[in-house]
């Protein structure tokens, strides 16, 4: 690989470079700023905003980076395209919010002497996710997953405050290591069949007539198990509720949004680049017929949403309930992928954009309340709507949006999803998804019930957050309403971001 290639490649992955540099700066700053580490969050924030700025200005940029020198094809290890940039932007935006979350979070404040390490790990996650999104080589994919995972294992147990942090961390790492191990084993078999780890090259390989179908399916399922674990799709979701409940809320929120988005981006890119034979005029992806991705995705997604929703019904811990709800949402999103068309892609991207706002919002308020009352139990929310009106209203809006009732943005997300489904004639699946929506109403509304329909009890705390928190809440709330009423901007944005680099 000559130097021009390297420079070219580096320019393409400039946001990642910025993130890496910022990571190093934080490490160094952590060492220098021995006593007072108050400025570290700001450094972290600056790095994120810088990366964000670069990405937004260069939205249309695309090309392969790190093309092997002896390659016959010009397929690099990294594919930079608008689709990837879109997800990276989502990741960075959620990271920005996480900085605010962490700053407000009581849990994180208690370990403020280790805040440098905290942000280093966050950056590790960001970097891992960014490469997950744009990697087009299985080795790099595995590595970025590991980078993300290792950082998040630590973050899940970072505060060490309570048993549950450590427990979450342990479960997470065991589960994660096994999953990634299984995935690696799958990758190794796939490598053995095809002789390559590059996604584009795989696509070329799949065009050949002789395939070991059984072996291939085996390896794909093993790989899917690894990705499924990242997006917490049933039946690979088991870690999710436990870890989400145990981790600090800021990290839970981050995992539920950013990490999941990265996983989905990876899955989408994997399927789109390696398995799509041709995209027809209607934007439908015509897959190679040796592996029925659609059936797999439909089965998994129905299982996921049903399981998520039905399990959420029984939860008393709000954080855990939100964990199940995020599983359910992963199910809906998977359905968008199962459509296997550009339209489905749009639906997924719209969904994620909105999901980011509403899910982060919900977690943030739960965090504020938990910080004050020390409990995430739903019973302690009794009458909260009266003692903390603004937070109560905002949480209601987020939950309603998560249910998908107009005029909130969540409805638009669902709408586009169902548009995609109906367009693909997947009516029966759409009906199942809709029934699931109805089921989900129960547990979301249950929170509203506790907040408003029961009178405040002695244990209900009155949460008076500081100004910055209100600002964050408003920043998240207003778009949720606004996009519900006027969603052109979202669609315009998504529309510009649907190109995925492929052969």
């Amino acid at each position: 690989m000559d130097l021009t290639n390297l420079y070219y490649s580096l320019r393409l992955i400039l946001p990642e470079v910025i993130v890496s540099v910022a990571l190093l700066i934080i490490v160094i700053a952590d060492l220098i700023l021995h006593r007072d580490k108050k400025s570290i969050p700001y450094i972290a924030l600056t790095g994120m905003l810088a990366a964000l700025a670069f990405m937004i200005t260069d939205l249309a940029q695309q090309g392969f980076a790190f093309i092997p020198s002896k390659s016959q094809h010009m397929f690099g290890m990294v594919a930079v395209d608008a689709f990837g940039t879109f997800f990276k932007i989502l990741i960075i935006i959620s990271s920005v919010f996480i900085v605010f979350f962490s700053n407000s979070s009581l849990e994180i404040q208690k370990v403020s002497d280790r805040i440098g390490e905290y942000y280093t790990l966050i950056y590790g996650m960001i970097l891992g996710m960014m490469f997950m999104i744009s990697a087009s080589d299985l080795i790099l994919i595995y590595l970025s997953i590991e980078l993300l995972s290792l950082s998040s294992y630590v973050l899940a147990g970072f505060t060490k405050l309570r048993d549950r942090n450590s427990e979450a961390s342990l479960k997470y790492i065991i589960y994660g290591a096994v999953s990634s191990g299984i995935m690696l084993f799958g990758i190794s078999i796939l490598y053995g069949i095809s002789g390559t780890t590059n996604l584009m090259a795989l696509n070329k390989f799949f065009q050949s007539p002789e395939l070991n179908l059984l072996t291939l399916s085996f390896s794909l399922i093993l790989i899917f198990a690894g990705i499924g674990y990242k997006i917490s799709a049933a039946p690979f979701h088991f870690w999710t509720p436990d870890v989400y409940e145990g981790a600090p809320i800021a990290i839970t929120a981050y995992l539920s949004v950013a990490s999941k988005a990265a996983g989905f981006a990876l899955l989408i890119r994997f399927i789109r680049t390696s398995f799509v034979a041709v995209v027809d005029a209607q934007g439908n992806w015509i897959l190679f017929d040796f592996f029925d991705w659609r059936s797999l995705l439909i089965i998994i997604s129905i299982l996921t949403m049903t399981l998520g929703n039905f399990s959420a019904l029984w939860q008393n811990n709000l954080k855990r309930m939100l964990a199940y709800s995020s599983i359910a949402h992963a199910g809906y999103i998977l359905l968008g992928l199962a459509v296997l068309s550009v339209h489905g892609l749009i639906a997924i991207m719209v969904y994620f954009l909105i999901y980011l706002l509403m899910n982060l919002g919900a977690f943030f308020i739960v965090m504020l309340i938990a910080d004050k009352s020390g409990s995430e139990n739903i019973d302690d929310y009794s009458g909260l709507g009266y003692t903390s009106p603004l937070l109560g209203v905002a949480l209601s809006i987020f939950l309603i949006s998560l249910t998908g009732i107009p005029p909130t943005a969540g409805f638009i997300a669902k709408l586009y999803l169902f548009i995609a489904l109906v367009d693909a004639n997947m009516i029966a699946v759409a009906v199942i998804a809709l029934l699931n929506t109805v089921v989900s109403l129960y547990y979301y509304v249950r929170v509203l019930k506790h907040m408003y329909l029961t009178k405040p009890s002695a244990s209900t705390s009155s949460v008076r957050a500081v100004g910055i928190n209100y600002a964050v809440v408003l920043i998240l709330t207003i778009p949720v309403i606004l996009f519900g009423l006027y969603f052109t901007p979202i669609l315009e944005f998504v529309k510009n971001c649907i190109s995925i680099l492929s052969i």
Partner: protein, 103 residues
Amino acid sequence: MIEVGLTHFLIVSSALFSFGIYGIITRKNAVMVLMGIELILNAANINFVAFSRYLNLGLSGQVAALFVIILAAAEAAIALAIVLNIYKTFDHVNVDEIEKLKE
């Protein structure tokens, strides 16, 4: 016995993989679970190297194996840190008894 070929190596790797999974599932002690994970990674590595050689794929498989080994080290480090942390909080490292988060 036939001449040793790719399949032999794959048999070894798949056996190792299975042992690894078995160990992870059955052992109570967290450290032993970690050992199981190492077995899985090793199994994958054998695959990589073996394919790389028998399919004449150059060194890409070996490089992958190299990365995995390094990664395994990093993972092991973090895993052990977490296990130590568990030991500090729970006074034991029995995975199946760490089950406060459930349902």
